[in-house]
Symmetry: none
Subunit: 228 residues, 4 copies
DNA sequence: GATGAATGAGGCTTCATTCAT
DNA sequence: CATGAATGAAGCCTCATTCAT
């Protein structure tokens, strides 16, 4: 009967198991990178946290660096995707940017572990090849085209935006910032992009749309667990 | 006794030699940190470059970290001091900030080694305790008080400024940026701080004052040597 | 019962498949041993080449070593058997030895893979227990008894013979030897065994009988394939 | 006073220490290679035997292989040199070869450790670049030129000679050979090279000259110690 | 029988640091 | 003070072997 495709069954079961173990490793890696940084020796901690053997790690990742890339992909790209969808409804590119940055900062406020991860790994991680850069570049270009932002070379706008956000997250990860931190950062960035003070203020102060992060990001559950 | 004088002499000679060896070590460390980053294994390369023995290194620095701190102190603080003096003549705080950031970016353009060092070590290094942060905070506060900048929490302004500048330097360290890169960055930062577009543009476009960096920074000679 | 026949059939089919998989493994192992040597890590390469899973390997061989033994058996013993048959027609033991060694060297010339295998594994493999030693001992003893060879302790003759041949094969495996290499080696060995220079020369120069190696050795096909 | 050249003194003391440690490592390595073979993992045993730390090993040798090369150099080249001198007095190249091989075999009989080393590492070790090959090639060529040996390609003579000797040593290392083993091997080799049976027999039977091996070979003491 | 994920012992290598000279 | 050999903890990585499916 069900003997028809035993190899198919076995194959699928194996693939499932593989995927699960891989996910366990990636998830376990986040707090470790968050604590020790990009260049640290990480494998021992990760396999301990994931509860797998040393050898198993090397069945999935060739190195430290490989693992970091996987984590970045999952964290970074999943995050940007959900933010992107959430702000897609806004017709004004300036508002999309404002809400996008605001949401990013909000998420890191809610998930201290994530904040620390970004603080430790952000620069090495969020290189120009990442989705974040791609997406932001698009938005800024549109904003310039539509006359919302003042014309300027994209890289410079991106750097300002990314740099300011990164430093903000860094500060958040060290604790003790007010609820207004996010909006203030957004405000300043918008002015930098060329909005007048009034518009920047107004956009930055708008309530953020709801972000269903659990639904979108496989890794978020663990990050909140790990830090309450 | 008659021992006083010769002993003094010997002491002074010894102190001189001590200082020289220490300087050699610090200088040799810069390219190594610039190439390998903050967390890398560094001592072997440094002592090789400085031409001293392993043991000697530990006569001057207790550890890796110690050395990095020394390098940062020398590079960062010396740099900020000379910039500070150079821009002290401007009565307008906005212009002081503009010229200051412009000069910083200019220096990293002229000294690729320095750019790489900042790119690799900047975040770890230029913490809020550094002179840079102290000085900038002052300037921004004054700018706000004098109505040149829009009011905002200092940390946020500092983060934007530092983040944008750091990312700019990072980009410079990777090469291929135009001569207008610095001014554009300054322009955007000034707008972020609250200048209107016209003023920001004007200030950012002003020619930078001359910076006699050789005179001020003991380490600059080596950095330029190493990179032509 | 009526179960007898189908079960027999199934059994036979299963046994066939077993034998086939085992042969695939042994064959795949030859180039790996030839390249990496006796002590190297081998299993991964072998199962990859054979296209079977890790687990399957252990259904056939208990260990690395087991596999090597199987390969040796197949390669060594099959080879000696066909050589033995081929030279069985010669009445003169000296001629049997001459032709035997000549054929061995010829085969390694034609099959570089085999040469490399012998070069890497020969000493470990061709111990005194192997068929080769058994057979050669017989022949030499007969040669002594018939007065063709000078009397001497068998082990010494065997060592000289095996050592000279092994080194010759090693050299062949490194390439660049002339067609006369085999005959010259045989010539020298025969002299060592006690033939006079003239007889040695004559026997060594005789054309070798044809050896139908494909017919006799299950593994030869693959070895030639692998090396063209 | 003696303070004139303190650095010279220090330097020499250090160099002495270095040389001693290196020698300890090389010596300790011989029995390990002899027991475990060329390809084995050897470092742990060697450092244990030498009583140095893991790190120290890497101060002297980059790898397993490096160490083997050093051992070979010391053992092989020192041995060939002393043998060479010992037989230099004989005017007849055939006698030089006979005595040389005889001495080699004798030494391995007297030093079981050495025999086992050669047995395990000989083929990998005594490549054509070694002094042994160089020296033997010279002798054989001279023998041919003087008409003592029959003309033949040098590589073939070398291979026969080396192969036969190597196998003889292998057998010796397994124990239980008679005192006549050496002479018999020499006898057969000489015949192979083209001496007539009578001359070969006579030369092989001659008593060997005395070899003061302790005096010549720095490592011999330890090898005999280690094996009584 | 076949599969392949998981294992973990075993070996390798680096490098900050110490210390006798 | 300078030297540089020695240290050894700390990480890295491989691969023969097991075992649930």
């Amino acid at each position: 009967m069900s003997d028809t495709a035993p190899s198919d069954h076995r194959t699928r079961v194996a693939a499932d198991r593989r995927e699960k173990t891989r996910a366990r490793l990636v998830q376990s890696a986040i707090p470790v990178f968050a604590e020790k940084g990009v260049d640290a020796s990480v494998i021992d901690d990760v396999i301990a946290a994931a509860g797998v053997s040393r050898g198993t790690f090397y069945n999935y990742f060739q190195s430290n660096r490989d693992l970091l890339i996987a984590v970045n992909h999952q964290l970074g790209d999943e995050l940007i995707l959900v933010v992107k969808e959430t702000v897609a409804g806004f017709p004004d590119p300036a508002e999309r940017v404002a809400a996008g940055i605001g949401l990013m900062i909000q998420v890191t406020r809610d998930k201290p572990l994530l904040a620390r991860f970004v603080a430790k790994c952000g620069l090495d991680t969020a290189g120009p090849s990442s989705l974040v850069y791609q997406y932001l570049a698009d938005q800024i270009q549109k904003g310039i085209d539509e006359g919302r932002f003042l014309p300027c070379p994209l890289p410079i706008a991106l750097d300002m935006l990314a740099g300011a956000t990164l430093c903000a997250v860094l500060r958040i990860s060290q604790g003790g910032v007010s609820d207004q931190h996010g909006p203030e950062v957004v405000n300043m960035i918008l002015r930098g992009l060329g909005l007048n003070a009034q518009d920047a203020q107004t956009l930055a102060a708008k309530p953020l749309p709801h972000l269903d992060i659990q639904a979108a990001c496989s890794l978020m559950s663990s990050t909140s667990q790990a830090q309450g």
